[in-house]
């Protein structure tokens, strides 16, 4: 069919009600994310384990979705700007509401309108899906056959560590033993798994003066927000499930950045001709995002600092388990012991879930003792550790994440021993037939555990201090076979009270027998304990939760 173009029609513009998305510049930022602890990025259930890892349907490799990462970054930036656990007010009734609204609007300029905001805008930040690589096995972990096959191979060519499967049980607090039918298992990505991350920031062009729409954020504003969010990847952000129990810890490195100036045709052409999959393949790597971006633009060298509103308390404890530590894990080899201490990524590990379980149990006892009320103790402990899941039977149940984050760390310097034990008949004091068993605890290992209380409420730090004291005093045992002395630790700790970006108070904590607290440190700790007592009393008296 032929077609005739009329002269008038060529003058018509291409504009339509959809408008134009003016773009001033495009930033591409890449880095490498490395998991520092086991991570559960859960996929759909089904198959041999209860909670499988999310995998790419094409290649089968671990998948970190852009939505997961973007959600974590948004949450981190929101924590920084408005503080922990603060939600956006629906109405602007007070000055505080107005300030909060403005702060949330600032966040939505980078991450787009929040869920349910029908009139919000899309995010100028594109966060890509990432396809992970499992870490390669260290030479010492190779089997004989593998060692033969991979003799002389480069480190990257060695076989990969498999995805881990970890068993979990629910402990009955009253009995201290596993509850029936509450065992479950799930896949975990081992520490060392890497994900290449990629972000693209589209800087909007300034709008005309006669435009009805509010002016878009400037490049400097967007960059400062983005860099603040990306900083969260260096310690603040954890990914996946059970991150308050130490899983999903990560680090980032190998930052690359490139700015394409879309105010010039050369900038457009440079971007258009770049590889869609690996646009920064040969770009230089830097240690931080700010340095990488700063090499591209003056705006990124001195970004406007984001006001930090986070209040948190961090206790870093160094524990030594001289009598051994045994968090049971099953074995598969015929010559393996019946039970052995849990390993992750080939190393002994103290799982945050075990530590949290023990601490919760002890916290309940302390709270009941101080508050003299079971319900008040339960409510208070739930506020700190999060309520126990009650399944779907209780319709009024509302889950809540734990305010206390407990790290999962590797146990170093310990030795694996394999003592043999046998069951004794209590009546005859003789041995049971075929009841010989062996165990493999990690003895003399040292581990640094971090407890972080985010947005603490009155009394919560006091309880945490009492728990840490018990831990340092060897009054609290972690893991299994505690009846034979395992799982008790001694060590030291340091308390940091962090308010905002700069204000910090550090207090060294030790076991009772060593240097006791004095001066302001003692006053601070005593004040927290007093707060705990008062809060529990309030709750027992029916005070506000």
């Amino acid at each position: 069919m032929t077609h005739t173009t009329t002269p008038d029609s060529t003058k018509a513009t291409l504009s339509d009600p959809g408008g134009v998305r003016g773009i001033q510049a495009r930033w591409i930022i890449e880095c490498e994310l490395k998991l520092e602890s086991a991570t559960r990025l859960g996929g759909r259930s089904g198959g041999p384990v209860d909670i499988p890892v999310l995998r790419d349907a094409r290649s089968g490799c671990p998948l970190l979705t852009g939505s997961t990462l973007a959600g974590a970054l948004r949450s981190c930036l929101t924590d920084q700007i408005v503080g922990y656990w603060i939600v956006e007010p629906q109405h602007e009734k007070t000055d505080e509401d107005r300030v909060l609204k403005r702060q949330f609007h600032q966040i939505s300029q980078l991450f787009g309108g929040s869920r349910g905001d029908d009139l919000g805008s899309q995010s100028p930040l594109i966060v890509f899906d990432s396809y992970g690589s499992l870490p390669t096995k260290q030479d010492s972990l190779l089997s004989l056959r593998e060692r033969e096959s991979f003799r002389g191979a480069k480190a990257d060519d060695l076989p990969q560590k498999p995805v881990e499967i970890r068993d979990s049980v629910k402990i009955d607090a009253s009995r201290g033993t596993a509850e029936d039918h509450k065992k479950f298992d799930g896949e975990l990505l081992p520490a060392g798994t890497t994900f290449p991350l990629r972000f693209e920031l589209l800087v909007p062009s300034p709008t005309d003066n006669d435009s009805k729409d509010p002016p878009p954020p400037s490049e400097a504003e967007l960059l400062s927000l983005l860099l603040a969010a990306l900083n969260g990847l260096s310690g603040e952000i954890a990914l996946g499930a059970r991150r308050s129990r130490g899983m999903g810890r990560l680090s980032v490195s190998k930052w690359k950045a490139k700015r394409f100036d879309f105010d010039k045709p050369q900038g457009w052409l440079e971007w258009l001709m770049s590889d869609a999959e690996h646009p920064l393949k040969s770009a230089q790597q830097f240690s931080t995002a700010q340095v990488a971006c700063g090499m591209q633009s003056e705006l990124a060298r001195n970004p406007e600092p984001v006001t930090d509103q986070r209040n948190r308390v961090r206790i870093t404890a160094t524990l030594t388990f001289s009598a051994g530590l045994l968090v049971r894990s099953p074995t598969r080899q015929a010559d393996a012991p019946d039970v052995m201490h849990l390993k992750s990524a080939g190393q002994s590990v103290l799982p945050g879930t075990s530590l949290a379980g023990v601490l919760r149990n002890r916290a309940l006892r302390i709270a009941r003792l101080i508050g003299n009320s079971g319900d008040a103790a339960n409510e208070f402990v739930d506020g700190l550790f999060g309520p126990e899941l009650s399944g779907t039977h209780d319709r009024d149940f509302k889950s809540r994440a734990s305010r206390l984050r407990i790290s999962e760390d590797f146990v170093t310097g310990g030795k694996r021993q394999r003592p043999t034990r046998i069951r004794i008949d209590r009546f005859t004091q003789g041995v049971f037939e075929s009841a010989l068993f062996d165990e493999e605890p990690d003895c003399g290992g040292r581990v640094t555990v971090t407890f972080e209380l985010r947005g603490p409420e009155p009394g919560q730090l006091g309880l945490l201090l009492l728990l840490v004291r018990d831990l340092l005093d060897s009054d609290l045992a972690v893991g299994g076979t505690t009846s034979v002395g395992r799982g008790v630790a001694r060590g030291t700790a340091e308390l940091e009270i962090i308010t905002g970006a700069d204000e910090q108070q550090r207090i060294a904590l030790t076991a009772n027998s060593n240097s006791p607290l004095t001066g302001t440190d003692l006053e601070t700790v005593n004040a927290e304990i007093r707060d705990l007592r008062e809060r529990l009393k309030q709750l027992a008296d029916g005070g506000a939760a």
Binding site: S15, T78, R400
Partner: protein
């Protein structure tokens, strides 16, 4: 295909670099909240409107930096909502390649062991779920769990680029820049999904596509005109083999066939402003409009315009669905079925109300002893918008219609466009639904030519053919996805002097009843008032026969007709017309000759006859009372294809086979566990101990290791390596059918492939590739049995398995994996039964 343009510029290629959701605006109940767009075979596609909008968005963002290409941008993308349609590019639907589609079609439509379209869709896709986090609690927010289907990355889709004019180098450069800049599409495109790579080329041009597109974008691509240029309308001659040059004036009918190559919105009247409905046929006025547009508004062509468009010499008659080389007709409104008959029944017993005189009957019988017909007393229902054939067995045809939801986006805000004209943002007018005739359907119409001679007739037809070319765009939204892109084929017959020659013709003697049946809507006016009045049909017909026939009764219905004049940019007045298929039964009062009948038919009735309105035929009045309308049998496609299957089909085959296998394992495991004797199940701790061995199922090698260890546990002579006696006793006590669990486990370990799994049966359920096309082996079965030592398969099958293995995908499993997976699933089911039993004993609700 336009041969004047290099073939690489006639299609675009979309490669999915990440999982992508091209949503269809709805979910699938019980499966996903957001469904991907897919066709009736379950094959995903991207709507042409979506692609066009994506490219347009990209161009709008960059156009200011390329001022020299501004005009090219307008030519390629065209202004919004422009009636002049100055855009020279039409973008079709992006889908998989035709060969792969043919394979899937054969599997879905074959008569035996069909693969369902749902299964096909599942083979192309994965499902992602996500929740929102509540900031106040840090826990998942209630009611935010949602699931979304995604196309698995790696899929390549291609769309046809239809250049309506030879593009200039700038046009191609503009499009190439837009293609290179379009890197994100679909839902959640800012959150990892929908990362795409676009370029010119076909599915096979993976490496060249980006390189060549970049060259075109740099202006170094070459000339957009092919060296093999030939005129697209090179085929000449009218096709009417005129015998001599007879000066006889007369009326000829030239039938034409329209074959839709893409969906077409033949705009009908819709009641919802945001909904566009389609007619089930293609009105002649559409072709007339296409001819008018091609002639243009020039003084030099005024005579031609009058002759071809305004009804001087040519009338454009409606195109109705074609069934087995036979033009159908809209079902007459007098055809009524018993209301009890379901819509989808293959046979409908239909009452032809034109057979009845409308008199009630005292005997309540349809036909009395004298053979007189009486009005049926059943509850009657219409035949819907179906078409019928009157040649051979009466057949009921229903054109295939699809509906899609489109959304107008605000480019900057990345969400639905909202109206800001009245102050504040009003979220309305953003969603609209389009109904369209599906592609690959055929319609037949005719043009009526009044000419002074056969030479004159040939000249007119030659003009029409030249103006329309080989294909014609129809209806709305024809620069993307829709427009029909209908291939038009004239089938001239020098002896065709009647529109419906197959409906018999003979002289009508006085006193005999006959029928006048409308074959298109008819606009008639009241003789007294001059206003349109469909009820005036009776009088108009009688006037036509000039007293030689008297109307007995009429069986009519009315419909509203309208239209749109692009030149005036106005809708035509909507008026009531008599519907197609309406029947007037007349009785001749004098003899009526065949010549008179033909003259009456050729003249037509009422207004707008040049557009095809007012057509009728005179037929016999044969009061049958009842007739049977059947739906046509589905054409049986070949059971399988014998050529070598494309890579995409091999991948899809492997994915379907594995999905079927996983399901079969779970079903088998459930059966085995439930067959175990109650109370004899091993304890959960023992089951857990056994399952611990089977955990690492990442490769066939790890599975092999697990099986050999389990073998040692169950039958080693060394007691220290065997399971302890109490544990062995528990396994022996557990009865699975007629054997112990120990025996069952050993049997699975020892067998080449688990006997409980019917692998050939599973393969048959998901077979896309036949044994013939794969060289004698069954690829679906081979996928299930990856070549491996001890697989138990013949060598030929192992080799076939290797052939089916697909690079870069973990789509193959081995026999050891099969065994481990089955044993693990059975033990898992047993643990579940244990848990249920414990709960029942404790009286806890399961």
């Amino acid at each position: 295909m336009n041969h004047s343009i290099p073939s690489e510029l006639q299609s675009l290629r979309i490669e999915l670099l990440s999982d992508t959701t091209f949503g269809r605006g709805e979910g699938t109940a019980g499966q996903v909240d957001v469904e991907v767009d897919h066709d009736e075979l379950g094959i995903p596609f991207v709507n042409g409107k979506t692609i066009r909008s994506l490219l347009r968005d990209t161009w709008l963002s960059m156009q200011e930096q390329f001022p020299k290409l501004m005009d090219a941008g307008r030519r390629v993308f065209g202004p919004h909502g422009e009636l002049d349609e100055t855009s020279i590019l039409r973008i079709g639907r992006a889908g998989i390649d035709d060969e792969s589609r043919r394979w899937i079609s054969a599997a879905v439509e074959r008569n035996v062991a069909r693969v369902s379209s749902t299964t096909i869709l599942a083979g192309f896709t994965d499902i992602r779920t996500q929740t929102s986090e509540d900031r106040a609690t840090g826990a998942p927010e209630l009611t935010t769990l949602r699931s979304m289907r995604v196309l698995i990355r790696g899929l390549v889709l291609t769309a046809e680029l239809d250049w309506l004019e030879i593009p200039t180098a700038d046009d191609v450069r503009c499009l190439a820049l837009s293609l290179l800049g379009t890197r994100h599409a679909g839902l959640c495109r800012n959150r990892g999904r929908g990362h795409i790579r676009c370029g010119f080329g076909t599915i096979d041009s993976a490496e060249d596509s980006v390189k060549r597109t970049a060259q075109w974008a740099s202006g170094n691509g070459g000339s957009p005109t092919s060296s093999q240029c030939r005129h697209p309308l090179g085929k000449s001659a009218s096709g009417l083999a005129a015998k001599g040059n007879s000066p006889t004036p007369g009326v000829w009918y030239v039938p034409y066939t329209l074959t839709l190559k893409s969906p077409a919105i033949v705009t009908g009247l819709a009641h919802d402003p945001n909904t566009v409905s389609t007619l089930r046929y293609i009105p002649g006025s559409m072709l007339r409009g296409a001819v008018a547009r091609a002639i243009g508004n020039h003084a030099a062509t005024r005579a031609q315009f009058n002759s071809l468009v305004l009804g001087g010499n040519v009338a454009w008659l409606n195109a109705y669905p074609l069934h087995q080389q036979s033009r159908t007709l809209p079902a007459p409104p007098g055809f009524k079925r018993d209301k009890q008959q379901a819509d989808d029944e293959k046979r409908w017993d239909v009452f032809d109300l034109a057979s009845f005189d409308g008199q009630p009957d005292e005997t309540h019988e349809l036909e009395d002893e004298d053979g007189n017909l009486h009005w049926p007393e059943e509850s009657l229902a219409g035949t819907g918008e179906s078409f019928v054939t009157f040649v051979g067995t009466p057949t009921r045809i229903t054109p295939n219609i699809s509906a899609r939801v489109h959304q107008q986006r605000d480019r900057a805000k990345g969400r639905s466009w909202t109206d800001t004209s009245q102050g504040g943002e009003q979220p309305h007018g953003t969603l609209f639904a389009c109904e369209s005739l599906d592609a690959k359907q055929k319609f037949e119409g005719a043009i009526q030519i009044r000419a002074d001679s056969e030479a004159h007739r040939d000249a007119i037809l030659q003009q029409v053919r030249s103006l329309l070319g080989y294909s014609v765009l129809l209806g709305r939204s024809r620069r993307a996805e829709y427009g029909g892109d209908a291939e038009i084929e004239f089938r001239p017959d020098p002896n065709r002097r009647r529109e419906w020659p197959e409906l018999g013709r003979e002289d009508i003697p006085a006193g005999k009843c006959f029928r006048a049946m409308l074959v298109s809507p008819c606009l008639v006016r009241d003789p007294d008032t001059g206003q349109f009045d469909p009820a005036a049909l009776r009088d108009v017909i009688e006037q036509k026969f000039a007293g030689r026939a008297k109307v007995q009764w009429v069986r009519t219905s009315f419909e509203t007709v309208g239209g749109f004049n692009r030149k005036w940019r106005l809708e035509l007045p909507q008026t009531l017309a008599v519907s197609t298929g309406s029947v007037v039964v007349l009785q001749a009062t004098a003899d009526i000759s065949t010549a008179d009948i033909v003259a009456l038919e050729n003249a037509g009735l009422g207004d707008r006859r040049a557009e095809g309105f007012g057509r009728f035929v005179i037929t016999k009045h044969e009061p049958n009372g009842k007739l049977t309308l059947t739906r046509p049998d589905e054409i049986a496609p070949p059971d399988s294809l014998t050529s070598s299957p494309p890579t995409l089909i091999k991948e899809l085959q492997a994915r379907l086979a594995l999905t079927a296998l996983e399901r079969a394992i779970d079903e088998t495991a459930s059966d085995v566990a439930r067959n175990a004797k109650k109370g004899s199940l091993p304890s959960s701790s023992l089951i857990g101990r056994l399952r611990e061995l089977l955990r690492d199922q990442s490769s066939d090698a790890t599975c092999s290791k697990a099986l050999s260890e389990l073998n040692v546990w169950l039958r080693s002579a060394d007691e220290s390596r065997r399971l302890k006696k109490p544990a062995m006793d528990k396994l022996d006590r557990c009865r699975v059918g007629s054997k112990s669990l120990t025996s069952w486990l050993l049997e699975v370990i020892d067998s080449p492939t688990p006997r409980d799994l019917n692998l050939p049966g599973i393969a048959a359920r998901c077979r896309l590739i036949s044994q013939e096309s794969s060289g004698g082996d069954d690829p679906a079965l081979a996928v299930l049995c990856e070549p491996s030592s001890g697989s138990g398969l013949p060598d030929s099958k192992r080799q076939q398995g290797a052939a089916v293995q697909v690079t870069d995908r973990q789509l193959s499993r081995g026999p050891n994996w099969l065994k481990v997976r089955l044993i693990d699933a059975v033990l898992d089911q047993m643990a579940l039964l244990n848990r249920q039993q414990t709960r029942q004993q404790k009286g806890v609700k399961s």
